[in-house]
Amino acid sequence: MNQSNDLLRAKLKVKHLASQARLNKFLVSTAVAGTLFFTAPAVASLASQPPEEIVSDITIGPRQKLLLDLKATLPPSLEILNPDLETKISNILREDLGIKAYAEFENERLNRSYGLIGAEQHLVRFPGDTIDQHGQFLQSGIAPGRGAWGYINDPEYEKYYVAVQTLYLPDWSARLSYLRDWYKYRKVVVVNPVNAKSIVAVIGDSGPASWTGKHFGGSPEVMAYLELNYGKQKGAVILFFVDDKNNQVPLGPLESKLDYD
């Protein structure tokens, strides 16, 4: 043995962590794969086991913890959340994702914080913008006109945008000038409770219409990440405003726990 034990230990620990990550990833995708998680939660049983060594090797990862926490908190049907539940979910998001997110923020709230999201098209970013200039998810198409806030100039915003039903807010008309600015590109976190995939996006458009039965819309990139871009291209999500006064929370998939002021 030529190397010091400390160096060997460090190298081995790296390999061990990698193997744990591989296993955890596998367990997450297992829980996501179908109804497994909700019918007979293997991960829940893992979480409740005594801390034996072998069990600690397959402890749940952050996404699985979020899955379990949301499963224990969300109502079985897609109903309007009461403030207590919304606070519980904020606490879960803070604990599991490190993100400060609220259903009501700066005294503003949408009619729903938990509802159905449906697939939207790409948005035009500048005059003459065409679908073939959007790189990915070209089959989603591009909206015929500008979004609720005009051209969405920032390509990152266009990539990670959601539509929310500002038009149905009870005070939308009365407070239009204030609310229009408040909602424009407001940062939100969207969580699919079926697989705990979470993504940070901006509010980039208004909609969908109530007759669709949906409450939110998601850009092609948002829907793909949430794994809601197949079949009927819709599903239940949590949508909370992000408290990010210093603009430290990046847009896009939340793959690891955040740490910010």
Partner: protein, 99 residues
Amino acid sequence: MTKNTFYDHLLDLSDLEKHLGKDEELMLIAKKTLRNHALVSILQVLPKDKHDQFLQEFVKSPHDQKHWTWLKNEIKDDLEKVIKTEVARAKKEILAQLK
């Protein structure tokens, strides 16, 4: 205290021991790493709809040899060979890292 698993006999650590010596902690980390890889290899060949049942039973009694009987009914592949192949691959990777 580490709990043994029903597939521990497939984790031949002799070649790793040559590099790690008799240091029990290092050998334990290596063993746990190989256990993780072996478990992944089982899950990779076990039908997804059986994962839940298997994991629940496995966590209750990781060492229990009854898992072999159950798994062999569910898996078409030669499971011992699958595990050995994955363990050998993982060991090769670890050894490359240790050199």
